[in-house]
């Protein structure tokens, strides 16, 4: 290979092409591999989980080090999930329990608090005016800084002189304070994002493309995780079916709109959709086809029409859903599987979507490099056949993974994953 071909720019183009070939179901020069972890990179660099959530520079150093060492074909910056501690403190964010905050052990992962953030009798409010519902009811529940927003005007009721009169609300001491605090939170967030983007630029100049530019969710998950709580949403499937479906229909429009906006500012055109409640065992096939897939498919199609590549992370085991989720245009999506039978998935979906995954978490954390190598080879042989496969663990590299197992996954893919 000539010196020119080893330049970072050439390597960047080579990696991008490798991933694009896999997505578009062509055979690349070798199986691509992504670097996606939550805390693993930080823990591997000797940081605590708490430090990963607060220390932007050390987290950046850990991310840089792992990208340069592992040389992935695309990588996810851990900042967007982790480096939120300072901003969350300022805004008094309440949906997450995280290390180093409120007495949580500095060495454990953050966890989302599954609660009812929207009551069953509030669907009508949400459906009439989602933004008003967010401003005056939802946001004050999920972050302390927004409590004063209860005093904001009722915006759709403003017209003519009421537009003028309503300015009085902004002189309320609590509202003034809230805007000042939000500006401080915003400054903190801009600092973090600035560092993250600078690192992404530096790594791009070293030859490494980003794996995702925005993330979103399934409409059912948005309702179940973030509004009604999982129990509330499941009961709504019986008690408030029409309203749940109507709310999901709204969400199916908001979700891609926000993702397209975020992705428009990035060179990367792949967007991420982690999925939580559609897996086997959680809802019936009929419920999946009523409450989960149609609205999710709408999101996926809107993203594809906007020129983006949706990467859907199907958590858990979704083997029974494979036939249904085949219904997307070929070569436009990545399906990232955790415990779904990957070999069956290749059979059913191989001509439609690029598969990604699924080295088991148990193997990465408690197994040996030999076991990892064998599993990766099997994935390469079967799922990699003819292209359309990206190597990764079940949901990215588990926090407690052994370093030698991570190295084994990358080495095996680079060496054994070459198409001949």
């Amino acid at each position: 290979m000539s010196a020119e071909n080893n330049s970072p720019a050439a390597l960047y183009a080579e990696r991008e092409a490798r991933v694009r070939d896999a997505i578009e179901l062509r055979e690349p020069d070798r199986v691509p591999i992504f670097l996606y972890s939550t805390f693993w990179q930080a823990l591997d660099a000797g940081m605590t989980c708490e430090q990963a959530m607060y220390d932007y520079d050390r987290l950046g150093e850990a991310a840089r080090r792992s990208v340069l060492e592992l040389e992935p074909d695309a990588y996810v910056l851990p900042h967007f999930m982790l480096a939120l501690g300072p901003t969350m403190e300022i805004m008094d964010y309440r949906q997450l329990q995280w290390p180093g905050h409120n007495g949580v052990d500095p060495n454990v992962s953050f966890q989302y608090l599954d609660k009812e953030y929207m009551k069953a009798d509030e669907y009508d409010d949400y459906l009439l005016d989602p933004t008003g519902f967010y401003l005056k009811k939802y946001l004050p529940r999920v972050a302390g800084v927004y409590e004063a927003f209860r005093k904001l005007p009722d915006f759709p009721g403003l017209f003519y002189t009421r537009v003028v009169h309503s300015t009085a609300a902004y002189d309320d001491p609590d509202v003034r304070q809230a805007f000042e605090t939000l500006a401080r939170a915003g400054a903190e967030m801009r600092t973090m994002l600035g560092k993250a983007m600078a690192l992404a630029k530096e790594l791009a100049e070293s030859g490494f493309p980003l794996a995702i530019s925005a993330s979103g969710g399934a409409p059912f998950d948005l309702l179940a995780d973030y509004l009604r709580g999982s129990k509330g949403a499941m009961l709504d499937m019986f008690r408030n079916k029409d309203k749940l479906l109507a709310a999901m229909d709204k969400a199916a429009q908001f979700i891609p709109r926000a993702m397209i906006d975020s992705a428009s500012r990035s060179p990367c055109k792949t967007v991420f959709i982690p999925l939580h409640w559609g897996l086997d065992g959680f809802m019936s096939p009929e419920q999946f086809e009523t409450f989960f897939w149609p609205s999710l498919r709408k999101v996926v199609m809107t993203l594809i029409e906007a020129g983006l590549t949706p990467c859907l992370l199907w958590e858990g085991d979704c083997t029974s859903r494979l036939e249904v989720i085949r219904d997307v245009p070929p070569g436009k999506c990545i399906y990232f599987f955790e415990r779904t039978d990957m070999f069956k998935a290749k059979e059913v979906l191989g001509d439609v979507v690029c598969l990604r995954g699924n080295v088991p978490a148990s193997m990465m954390t408690t197994g040996t490099p030999d076991e990892v190598r064998d599993y990766c080879k099997k994935l390469i042989d079967v799922c990699g056949d003819g292209g359309g496969f990206i190597m990764d663990c079940g949901i990215g590299i588990p926090d407690e993974s052994k370093r030698e197992n991570v190295l084994a996954m990358f080495e095996t893919t680079r060496e054994y994953g070459v198409y001949r």
């Binding site: 329990q97 966890q111 129990k231 499937m237 008690r239 809802m283 019936s284 954390t365 408690t366 926090d399």
Partner: protein
């Protein structure tokens, strides 16, 4: 069998919540024996459990069945003057989500299915330190301990909990089963548990098998 009894059981088993709760209220208002009424609910729950095992029902149905049961119990229990004969327990299971993990949906389904199958379940909740399991084993003398966890950090917590149970000299007295989104045979070996399960039915059959042994 009275019509009301059959209708109540069917309404619950068919997920007709309003009909079930209204009918139970009408029956109780008409002087129906609250203990007998709760017995009908238990019968209905057995049908729900069977349909869950058969793959006809899923989480949403279990959630709704639980809601119906608690609404009817809330009406019936204040009317009960003396406790009726209690059904003999199939065995005792202590269950909890291990230290560091806050996820409880899987644990709650297993609890629900074990109770339907006649087990006495002591649910220690979420983020449970090993010592709480040990204290509870000493107090309740269960046949089975169930450790639940969704996150990968739970693998170590499960291992530590099993080791602590051994160190307390209680390992020979109990069988340990683990469950949760990411467990498998490899994790079972790592933690030193006796068995693992990917769903609530496995938990029920393990407990039945161990209690019978």
């Amino acid at each position: 069998m009275s019509d009301d009894k059959a209708r109540l059981i069917e309404a619950i088993a068919e997920m007709h919540e309003d009909e079930a709760v209204d009918l139970a209220r009408t029956m109780l208002d008409g002087g129906y024996d609250p203990v007998a009424l709760l017995g009908h609910c238990r019968e209905a729950m057995e049908i729900v459990g069977k349909r869950f095992e058969d793959g006809e029902f899923f989480l949403p149905e279990l959630m709704l069945a639980g809601e119906m049961l608690s609404a009817i119990s809330d009406m019936a229990k204040p009317l009960i003057r003396e406790a009726g004969p209690t059904k003999k327990s199939s065995g005792t299971v202590i269950i909890g989500t291990v230290h560091g993990d806050l996820h409880d949906i899987g644990k709650n389904i297993v609890t629900f299915m074990l109770e339907i199958n006649g087990f006495t379940v002591i649910d220690l909740g979420i983020d449970v330190p090993a010592q709480n399991f040990i204290d509870s084993i000493r107090e309740h003398r269960p046949q089975v301990v169930g450790l639940s966890g969704f996150l990968t950090l739970a693998f170590d917590s499960m291992k530590e909990t099993v080791e602590a149970i051994s160190a307390a000299g209680l390992r020979e007295e109990v069988r340990v089963m683990i469950g949760g989104g990411q467990v498998d045979e490899q994790v079972r070996r790592y933690t030193g548990a006796d068995s693992f399960g990917l769903n609530a039915m496995t938990a029920v059959s393990l407990c039945k098998q161990w209690v019978a042994a």
